[in-house]
Amino acid sequence: MKKISTAAIAEQLSQMAGMNKKTTESFIRAFVETVLTGVSQDGVVKIKDFGTFKAVNVAQRESVNVVSGERFTIAGFNKLSFTPDVTLLAMLNSVSAETTDTAPATTDEEPEEETPTAEPDPIPTPTPEETIVPEAEAAPVAAVIDESVAEEPLTEVVEESVEVSDEPVAEDETEPVAVSDEPAEITADTTPTAMAPADVKSGSDVKKWTSLILAIIVVVAVVAFAWPKQTDNEPQAQLEKLAEIAQTQPQPQPAIDQADEPKRKVHILQKGESLTTISVYYYNTKDSMQAIWKLNGFKDPNNIPLGTEILLP
């Protein structure tokens, strides 16, 4: 802990206020003098946005000499106490929050790496693979229904992605390719063998493909959410087409669902553990204790039976 002397304070003040160092030195002396005279006069000195100085009398008390066992009295004395103002404390806490902002950010990222299925919410810029996670969460709805109906999102993608590729840039040549390859691309998300042809292409092609894949993923997500409404309005002819496509392509979607299903880590409470120690153990910070508490919905975090399964956020 570094100590700042009166001279250093005067110099720093003179730089901050743009005043002479002599003036600031005399100001500090005057500050001390004024507080002392104020305390001796009224007993209290209140300074706005700074704090309160108060004279407190500590009464004499008896004590025992540990070595000889003799009783003796400690004389009473006067003490100058200081209570910082709320504004000063708010300033201090805001300043320290700014300086420590970077530290919790790094600790938050660590648990995400540990867990097999990271939640996409806290990540500001998700990668294409990560954006699949919300889809997979929405996809089980489609997986439950008949195979022919479950295929609908795929054909919807074909139709809608044509519109999407029309909008951004004038890539007339790539459009038909995009339409023909899209079913393959969707499977490429799940099967590594299908990804191979895309990887072989040159750098500029790769960029196009990645942007296309992104567009497809976005469209699939939109369709997955909007699908139940659209099924009512679709004509029979489209359904037949879907059935045909369903026959030609094996269904990879259930595989995605099993792989990407969110698995929460569970901790079984042992003797001597608390939510805080669990938070520190898994996330290296006490701050996650509240999140664990809320997630599990315990009434009293200090009174949890041993062996309780605690879900980790």
Binding site: S5, T23, F27, V45
Partner: protein
């Protein structure tokens, strides 16, 4: 002593105008906060030291709602008077007693 009285007395003692004294007092509090936030102690000679006190997170119980609430960790400023000031205050008391 109120804030107004303090600033006027401070201006009188330091030979500054009241506005200058008020500005310097503001700057002083900012400087104090900055250096204490950086875990430094501010030592005013023959007066005392201002230092940082960290308060850890604690749990509070509201008896009316019967709910526990987490009070987050915070930082505070403590003041410890110097031994010179302690003697000064004791001397002042003695003089008062004699009078």
């Amino acid at each position: 002593m109120t804030n107004k009285q303090f600033i006027s007395a401070l201006a009188k003692n330091s030979g500054l105008t009241t506005t200058e004294a008020a500005v310097l007092l503001d700057q002083f509090s900012i400087m104090l906060v900055d250096s204490i936030a950086a875990d430094q102690t501010v030592n005013l000679q023959s007066f005392g030291t201002f230092s940082l006190k960290t308060k850890s997170e604690k749990r509070a119980y509201n008896p009316t709602t019967k709910q526990f609430k987490l009070i987050p960790a915070s930082k505070s400023i403590t003041f410890r008077q110097s031994s010179i000031l302690k003697d000064k205050l004791a001397d002042g008391d003695r003089k008062e007693d004699e009078a």
